[in-house]
């Protein structure tokens, strides 16, 4: 790979060693990007295997044990090795210092440590998965996880280690945003992507330790028979669910908040408009980070939890949903009277908004409590979180990948092809997950290797959609790989964006800025004429 700009972070040391020992937030971001893409590919292969098995009732290509291990592999890989680090650790690392006019993050060496912790954790977890093959699902529900004969322990330990990587990244961003903003960049001028990463970091630092604790307790239970969650030893299996979801509901916001930040940037850049309501986005980001901690019981309406408790958790869930609704309105308002460029990031953005809306509304329906009793633990839930995690987060990830590809590599990619691939991905997504939503309505439980025959036609439709989706990803991988080498030089700001990160060269020099940037206004101010509001 030969970078077009003579002086950039890419040309500053070309040996592998210079990458492995770098403290440069941009190189660390690029390394995380490479690693998460690799795990996304792996997780995708596992998903395809699942979809193929589900083509027919009964055995298609694998037995029950293999299927159960496969969905555990898929879930663990996608959640902890891809979703959680993807946007914050890759794009966050690369962009946050650039966006706030800093030379690097607050703790560059901790930043490098988080890469190694991530690789170590991922290796331990994957080794465990291939050696003994845990079959618990990514949720590790007790007492199944404490009694099954498969190798749960290495997976627990691996995820535990990755948790530290997440915490370090979060701490680093909080310190960076507080202490390293350039002079003149006040809080209410900070780009919305940075706000999103900041909100995410708060959740990462507060929630991940709870995951660490609960994984450790399950490990203790398996190794020394601690008996905390095992009813056969006087423990309480439901306690596990409370602890697990106390982490994992906030964790779904770790997965989705950064993607909302990406969309806030992309909507403005591709419509040449300031955010319709900057402050609503900021406050709803913080609102999600806070209220997200009080909704975990909505995963346990059918567990015998008290009726009053379920009501309280349902009502709190409605509040979190409001924060998401507010953002959708602001993004839509941003398009109003803009100059909208139909580029791949914008196409993904539109897909994102639609799927986030649908996924969120299914969530709202679950939070009415009475409807949940039918949908809980069926394919409806599978569709709900894939709408959010694939329909929204992966779309945003792709938008980010395309929007910032020239920033990171200094190259352009074939735009027409990219637009085509974006449309393909969106249709592939709809074809894969709308049938799953209907399967849930029909009563198909999740985590089934086998199913009664009346569910088959919808499964076939879903598998067909998944193949389309897989094809779309291959196209993207092909042209991006090609562009890394042969893409035309992009110039410093190919999209004409007023996002702060574009004020440095593309690709940026090692120290980011040659002259200190100034911040007379907030980000994405394109206007020549002032219009007070839309009325």
């Amino acid at each position: 790979m030969s970078p077009p700009a003579a002086e950039s972070y890419l040309s500053d040391g070309r040996t592998v060693w210079s990458w492995l020992t770098t403290h440069d937030h941009k190189r660390i971001g690029v390394m995380f990007l490479g690693l998460t893409l690799f795990f996304f590919f792996l997780g995708g292969l596992f998903a395809l295997a699942l979809r193929i098995e589900l083509l027919t009732p009964g055995r298609t290509v694998m037995g029950h044990l293999a299927y159960n291990r496969m969905f555990t592999l898929h879930g663990v890989t996608m959640v902890w090795l891809f979703m959680i680090p993807a946007i914050p650790s890759a794009f966050g690392n690369f962009l946050v210092p650039l966006m706030i006019g800093a030379r690097d993050v607050a703790f560059p060496r901790l930043n490098l440590a988080s890469v190694y912790l991530y690789v170590l954790g991922a290796s331990v977890a994957l080794w465990g998965m291939f050696e003994g093959g845990a079959d618990t699902g990514w949720t590790f529900y007790t007492p199944y996880s404490t009694t099954t004969g498969t190798a749960v322990l290495p997976v627990l330990v691996g995820v535990f280690i990755i948790g530290f990587s997440t915490i370090l990244t979060g701490l680093n961003f909080i310190a960076t945003v507080h202490t390293l903003r350039a002079p003149g960049l006040t809080w209410m001028k900070v780009p919305l992507f940075v706000w999103a990463i900041y909100g995410t970091s708060i959740i990462q630092v507060l929630a991940t330790p709870v995951l660490g604790m609960v994984l450790l307790l399950v490990a203790l239970e398996r190794v020394v028979g601690a008996g905390i969650f095992d009813p056969a030893r006087g423990g309480d299996p439901i306690l596990f669910q409370h602890l697990f979801w106390f982490y994992s509901h906030p964790a779904v916001y770790i997965m989705v908040l950064p993607s909302m930040g990406v969309i806030s940037e992309a909507v403005s850049a591709f419509s040449r408009k300031n955010a319709f309501s900057y402050r609503m986005i900021v406050y709803s980001t913080l609102g999600i980070a806070f209220v997200g901690f009080f909704t975990w019981g909505h995963h346990m309406f059918a567990s015998g939890q008290s009726t009053f408790g379920s009501g309280a958790f349902g009502a709190m869930s409605m509040l979190v949903a409001i924060f998401t609704a507010i953002k959708i309105f602001s993004w839509l308002g941003t398009l109003y009277r803009g100059s909208i460029a139909i580029e791949s990031p914008l196409i993904y953005t539109l897909g994102f908004m639609f799927f986030l809306f649908f996924g969120g509304m299914i969530g709202v329906a679950y939070a009415t409590t009475s409807l949940n009793l039918h949908w809980h633990d069926t394919y409806s839930v599978v569709a709900h979180f894939h709408f959010i995690m694939v329909g929204a987060t992966v779309m945003a990830f792709l938008a980010a990948l395309h929007y910032w590809f020239p920033k990171m590599s200094g190259r352009c990619f074939p735009k027409k092809l990219a637009n085509g691939a974006a449309v393909l991905i969106i249709f592939g997504f709809i074809a894969t997950f709308v049938p799953q939503f209907l399967l849930g309505n029909l009563g198909m439980p999740r985590r089934y290797a086998d199913y009664p025959p009346h569910f088959q036609s919808l499964h076939v439709a879903s598998t067909a959609g998944a193949s389309l989706l897989a094809f779309g990803f291959l196209v993207i991988a092909a042209y991006l790989a090609w562009s890394l080498r042969y893409g035309a030089a992009a110039g410093d700001n190919p999209w004409g964006s007023e996002g702060f990160e574009w004020r440095s060269a593309s690709p940026p020099p090692t120290h980011n800025f040659t002259t200190p940037p100034e911040y007379p206004t907030g980000p994405h101010e394109y206007a020549r004429e002032e219009v007070p509001h839309a009325a």
């Binding site: 015998g304 009726t307 308002g333 909208i340």
Partner: protein
């Protein structure tokens, strides 16, 4: 209309009174979602066409939402969501509170089958027989890991948890057959853990139950098993496990409180508070006796976790429920009378 929407959304048959209620809420929510989605899509497409970029340097105005718009964007969805929540939660409270006159059936999940036990005697594997038009309350527990009893036609599921009882009630208005699935992942054959609810006309149900009680071979129902009633079994277990060394069935206090009339009583607790002696409390007292100690008694009872099978603990509960103080003029009911816990 109901039928049309049900098919449109791929919902299965409406096999319970709850299914009809909850489906209506479902339609309202989904139709609103679609309407708003179409609205958002239309606005998005309109903006895309109307404000499509013409030259690279199109001027754009600076537009910021006015405070009243922000208030509207927050207020409208919030009121809608809260309205739905109120409607849904009302149904939820209703469906979480079993009616007094329901027929009790004990359900035990184990890898990978369902066992149904009737207090009056028979038990069956993977086939639950109930009368139409009468509320049925299931008392669920598990012998190993967590399972979830799920009947899509009833729009209803509840987890079966080892060492605890949870309950679920339903009323099937019409005779019919409904698929039972396990909805909580429970290992290798999770997807094979299926069963069936058979809803019989009330008269047929009585006949079936009589036949079961008289231990007649009923060829049509192969799952049927031993007719020993749960209460009788419970008495046997209580003697064998030594319960009766500390608890009396005569009303006299001993080392522990008497079991006579215990079920449904409000017990004062050591350290303040009272607890209603329902199935959940009775089970907890066997498994974790020191969690709630009745005022005036020493915390000496051993825990029976791992020493009582799910069947045995259920049988003990039924035995305790059968011990009610004689009241003049009232003959003991055939089925134990359930006192709602008021949760």
């Amino acid at each position: 209309m109901n039928e049309l929407l049900r098919r449109l959304f791929f919902l299965p048959e409406q096999g319970s009174t709850f299914a009809v209620k909850v489906d209506h809420l479902h339609y309202v929510l989904l139709l609103t979602t679609f309407a708003v989605a179409v609205g958002i899509g239309a606005v998005g497409i309109f903006f895309l066409v109307r404000y499509h970029r013409r030259t690279a340097s199109d001027p754009t105005p600076r537009v910021v939402a006015a405070p009243w718009m922000e208030a509207l964007f927050i207020g409208v969805p919030l009121s809608l969501f809260l309205l739905w929540f109120v409607l849904g939660f009302k149904q939820f409270v209703w469906v979480m509170s079993p009616p007094q006159d329901s027929l009790d059936v004990y359900v035990t999940g184990k890898q990978w089958m369902w066992k149904f036990t009737y207090p009056g005697g028979p038990s069956a594997i993977d086939r639950l027989v109930v009368p139409a038009g009468r509320p049925v309350r299931l008392l669920l527990t598990s012998r190993d890991v967590i399972h979830s009893f799920y009947v899509p036609d009833f729009r209803m599921k509840r987890d079966a948890i080892p060492g605890r009882y949870t309950d679920l009630w339903f009323e099937a208005p019409r005779p019919g057959r409904h698929l039972v699935l396990c909805a909580e992942y429970c290992g290798l054959d999770h997807s094979q853990m299926r069963g069936e609810v058979v809803v019989l006309p009330p008269a047929d149900f009585e006949a079936w139950q009589d036949a079961q009680r008289r231990n007649l071979p009923v060829a049509a129902l192969p799952g049927a098993r031993t007719p020993e009633s749960m209460a009788v079994r419970g008495e046997r277990v209580a003697a064998a496990q030594g319960c009766l060394q500390c608890h009396t069935v005569t009303g006299a206090p001993h080392i522990g409180p008497t079991w006579l009339g215990l079920y449904g009583r409000k017990e004062p607790l050591e350290g303040g508070g009272v607890v209603l002696a329902d199935e959940a409390y009775l089970t907890e007292s066997m498994m974790d006796p020191l969690a709630k100690v009745v005022a005036g008694y020493a915390p000496v009872m051993p825990g029976y976790h791992g020493r009582l099978s799910a069947e045995d603990s259920g049988a003990l509960v039924e035995f305790i429920k059968s011990l009610r103080p004689p009241r003049p003029g009232v003959t003991a009911a055939e089925e134990p009378v359930y006192v709602p816990t008021g949760r």
